[in-house]
């Protein structure tokens, strides 16, 4: 017989004490329960064809996020890259450049710590840190919870910094409007060929840290060729957040989304 499942508390998690005024959503906090096992009917063994997509639940939640963002008039961007490709630095400089012209909000995912959220904090820019507790990617449910935790009124651009990982985030739709893949000059020219799904699913690819390309003996031409091969559909930008090189074109791309 069916028995009542454990009742999951649905309130947002409370911020950890060391996180100051940064909003932290730790996905280890309970939010959802599994369906209960079925009742007492016994029959012979039979085979049922179901043919349902396994990511259905995430995809469904992603569509809910997308609809909610559309109603709010928000364009969401999902930033993916290896750890250390410069997502946080790019976002810091992007937020500074957009200033008060374009009202923005940021969700940032990491396995642990609220360091990135602290780095990204700016007056008037709501920031939520999502600590995944070991999960190697953000999913749509985490993004929905984080969206609940920050004020989104008037926000036009929602920047979602995914967990640094060039593999798994490719499989998880967050409900974003644009997927932005970063690859830095310190990573080697063949990254796009080694991790094709992250590039073939990107709307834009940013080649970052181009200020150090010379010092790294980085072959920009070859890297751009490889990006073109793996991501023929994507807009490509070469940027240095540090020196500002290429940032105008990137900012124009963002403004073009509005």
């Amino acid at each position: 017989m069916n028995t009542p499942g454990p009742s999951a508390p649905k309130q947002p998690s409370s911020p950890a004490p060391e996180t100051e005024d940064v909003v932290v959503i730790d996905v280890r906090d309970p939010a959802d329960t599994l369906p209960e096992p079925p009742g007492d009917r016994i029959a012979g063994t039979r085979t049922v064809d179901v043919s349902v997509r396994i990511l259905d639940e995430n995809d469904r939640r992603a569509e809910v996020n997308r609809a909610r963002l559309a109603v709010l008039g928000i364009r969401a961007l999902n930033f993916v890259s290896s750890p250390g490709a410069g997502k946080t630095t790019l976002l810091q400089h992007t937020l500074a450049a957009l200033g008060e012209d374009v009202s923005s909000a940021v969700l940032v995912g990491d396995l642990e710590t609220a360091n990135d959220a602290r780095r990204l904090r700016r007056p008037g820019v709501p920031v939520a840190q999502i600590t995944t507790g070991g999960a190697c990617h953000l999913d749509a449910a985490m993004v929905a919870r984080a969206m609940d935790a920050i004020p989104l009124d008037g926000v036009r651009l929602l920047f979602i910094e995914n967990v640094g990982n060039l593999v798994c985030p490719a499989s998880f739709d967050l409900g974003e409007n644009r997927r932005i893949t970063l690859v830095s000059c310190t990573e080697g020219e063949d990254k796009p060929l080694k991790y094709p799904p992250m590039f073939s699913s990107a709307h834009a690819v940013l080649l970052t840290k181009i200020d150090v390309a010379g010092a790294m003996e980085f072959d920009r031409k070859l890297a751009l060729q490889n990006i073109r091969r793996a991501a023929p559909q994507a807009s490509v930008f070469e940027v240095s957040a540090k020196t500002g090189e290429g940032m105008d074109a990137w900012l124009a791309y963002l403004r073009g989304l509005l």
């Binding site: 096992p37 079925p38 179901v50 995430n58 999960a135 190697c136 094709p196």
Partner: protein, 114 residues
Amino acid sequence: MHEVGIAQAALDQALEQAQRAGAVRIHRIVLRVGTLSGVEPTALEFAMQTLLPGSIADGAGLEIEPVPALARCRSCSHEYSPSDGLLFECPHCGALASTVLRGRELELARLEIS
């Protein structure tokens, strides 16, 4: 290792579908995994095995049906099976842009229940 999350989603789906079919026990779970799905079948199977105990699928057999990739060239419409890896070019005209027709599947195919 996002296979753990996918395994959990697969098990959730299996339990939900079994409940819908009025099952008390799941004896076999058959998954369909495309070669371009980004999921490593061995890792997925291992992750599933660790999640089954305690559910009505405890002890269930797991089967993964691989789905080979099939692509259509966006330039010359030639259909081909990409032979190696995730990045491929049309053997007919050499173009890189293609539409994937098959190979991204990540599905719960069948359940054997009682």
